[in-house]
């Protein structure tokens, strides 16, 4: 390949030193994100990476590209507004299970339903990492946590079941220990038109001893290897997503290939070639005044 202008991994490097724990699942996720961006030939100047607040968000200055590190739980509406304003920029958003399923769960529901055109990567490490190990909605019942010394009393939520109940246009799952597979999934998410939901089952070396890297490694399987699996069938996706204990399905569980994203549904933007960012100038209001006469 003639690579004078090719995007390389190097282009996404940052000089800042990582601050995650040794063997944190975030390393694998970041590696896969960079690989996916490079493989999709996205120039860092044409990428916007949006970060929530949490351990995941502490990666915002450890990668290149345009980045926004905003507020806890709010990454989805930020990314939605950004992606609507300029569709030429690839938008990827990152959030933890704490911020996404507690503080900002309303945004998750509406992002899925609105089908905004960007990719969302949920770092599901089954706890609040940055605030030192409190329970999230995905923490196992009975597990002692910071602020729950006798164990969590709430049943954990199966995120994928919840998402599939909202009729998403793209829902995938991956495991933070398999960079190659994650890369493929993220690439598929980037290519999909509409809201691409990707749950990454992420090991947390410090606050989650129950499901370490090895635990997942023994249990995950790639859905694309399952004979006859039809990712266009929502009911099949619901079926395979249930098991989070023995055989855990990963891969693109569901995709609607005819998905029409939010922006493309807007009657008044049909056929418009320019982006909202290109259209800021003085406008005449004379045409609108007759109704006030």
């Amino acid at each position: 390949m003639n690579c004078s202008k090719c995007i390389q991994m190097f282009d996404y490097y940052s000089d800042n030193i990582f601050t995650w724990c040794t063997n944190c699942g975030n390393y694998g996720i970041f590696s896969a994100v960079k690989r996916a961006l490079v493989a999709e030939e996205i120039d860092p100047k044409d990428a916007l990476l949006c970060f929530d607040i949490g351990c995941n968000g502490n990666g915002s200055d450890k990668i290149s590209g345009y980045r926004f590190h905003g507020l806890h739980g709010r990454v989805l509406p930020f990314a939605a507004g950004a992606s609507l304003a300029n569709r030429k920029i690839k938008v990827i958003a990152f959030g933890g299970d704490g911020g996404t399923l507690s503080e900002g769960i309303n945004h998750l529901v509406h992002s899925v339903r609105s089908n905004y055109d960007f990719t969302f990567i949920l770092h599901n490490n089954e706890n609040y990492g940055l605030t030192t190990g409190q329970a999230s909605l995905t923490t196992r019942k009975g597990k002692p946590m910071n602020a729950a010394p006798d164990g969590v009393v709430v049943e954990p939520m199966n995120v994928m079941e919840f998402i599939l109940g909202l009729k998403p246009s793209f829902a995938a799952r991956a495991f933070s220990g398999d960079v190659k597979h994650m890369t493929e999934i993220i690439r598929a998410g980037i290519k999909h038109r509409g809201f691409s939901f990707i749950e990454i089952l992420q090991n947390c070396t410090t606050y989650n001893a129950e499901t370490p890297h090895e635990w997942y490694q023994e249990r995950v399987y790639d859905i694309s290897k399952l004979k006859g699996y039809n990712k266009a069938d929502l009911e099949s996706a619901k079926e395979v997503s249930k098991d989070l204990e023995e055989n855990i399905a990963t891969g693109v569980l569901y995709e609607d290939e005819d998905s029409v994203d939010f922006y493309s549904r807007l009657a008044n933007r049909k056929g418009t070639q320019t982006e909202l960012v290109d259209e800021v100038k003085n406008y005449e209001i004379g045409n609108f005044l007759s109704r006030f006469n």
């Binding site: 590190h69 905003g70 507020l71 507004g81 909202l276 045409n287």
Partner: protein, 580 residues
Amino acid sequence: MTNNRLVIKICGSSGQGINSVGELTAKAIKKLGYKLFGYREYPSLIRGGFASYQIDFSDNTLRSSSKKSDVLISLGRIATHKYLKDLNSSGILIHSLKGMKFEQDEEKFIKENRIKVIFLDAFDMADKLGGKTIIANIILFGLMWKVFAFPIEVVDETVREVFAGNPKYIELDLKAFEAGYNFDLSGVEQIKVPFKKNEKWKNSMIITGNAAVALGSISAGVRAYYSYPMTPSSSILSYHADFYKDTGVLVKQAEDEITAIQMAIGSMFMGTRALVATSGGGFDLMTETISLSGMTETPLVCVIGQRPGPATGLPTWTADGDLNLAIYAGHGEFPRCVIAASDLESVYTLTQRAFDIAEKYQIPVLMLTDKQIAEALFNIDSFPKDSEVKRYLVEGDELKRLISSDRYKFVNNGISSRWLPGSSEATFVANGDEHMEDGSVNEEAVNAKQMMEKRMKKLETLYQELPSPMLYGEETADIVFVGWGSAKAAILDAMDQLKKAKSSQSISYLHFDYIYPLKTEEIMDLSEKARKVVLVENNYSGQLGNLIVQKTGYRFNELLLKYDGRPFFVEDILNYLKKL
């Protein structure tokens, strides 16, 4: 008639078509060639309660409402009891309430003030005309038109215009109007309108403050509008949606206010112009994002249409009680600008200015309106001149020379270069965590101090550029009022009134459109020259006054504060002056 104006008030309960007949009346009176101001009172419910639509008209400038009316048209009992005593002496009550019983004190009021009561069974008439009771309002309107001896052709034309989309109503409404107009008025003295008509007003517009927010934002190149409905700002969303086919503006009703403002900051970060509007309660939810805008130096504009709080408060009434909220909202210390509209022209102009200031200084700008401004009907012949859209972005070859650390570079005026995603190889992180010049996280004391100083420097730079408060009249007047928001309208009308009456009292008014950062030279000047300085605010604690005290130590001679959900009426000012 008082105060050089005539006042018609139409009242009833919600759902009786008060609004539509109010609009019809306003339009028809304008077409006669009078200057008017329209004011609505209505409850926060869809059916019942009491609602009113008031039109004050005159031959010359008129900016506010009078508390008292000359003609009261009523379709409802509760509303009649409510508004009867606001009639001027010799006023006329036209109602359609069979067997209407007045209380003893009301009977007394009617007698003492020589109120003429006219009953017309409009509901029965409407029925006979084959229309629903909903045309009763038009029948009473017809009778009112005759009371003023106004020409009938104007109504014909207005009805045809208003109902152009519904031809079958035109005929019915015109019949209803005629029925009312033909009512036998013998024994009632017709009202002679003493004002001269003016061609200029015939072709003028009748427009609400919220429409001016929408139009101002369209003219300023706003390309996305995100909002969650909340009175009194909801109709900005409707206007944008009404215009969106022609404007191409992306209009999104978000799932909540937090979402609306996050979507807006996302769009602004990318480089388009996005607007959000809400009321105080919705703005409470937005405050974390105001702080984020301050930290990441991402421009942001939010309109806060005020209504009385706390909590749900009086949803459909007015107050100027959220100045403190706008100035102090958001955690941490960061520069911001707070501006407040006071009339239609200022709404239009300040909406444009808000974006200019936000983008030039890379700060959040909060624009206050209130229910009185948002929903009142202003009558204007033209809009103010548009301000030019400038972007303050790095452009052309300069983009190639940028390095990441230019984005938050320590510069003297605090305003570092800003450029947009996609425009330069020099990428950066806009970070809500304290950061270095390229946005990377940094928790060192030296950096934290320097970054805080850089950001806050922008407030000083902004202060230098902001316009001073506007003085109407002379500094040396007997009384100088100081205020902001919709109070201005009543004060200026009172000043005109006194001038017309050749009053010996001289008054003037210092008005603040730009409130934060606060300009203080003028107020210090006044404190030396004026004999008496009176703070006028539509809130309980005198929030602008407190800001002035805080900044200058100056204390006002007197306070005129109103916090009952109603706007300042011209009488509020005149009566205050009378008592002195």
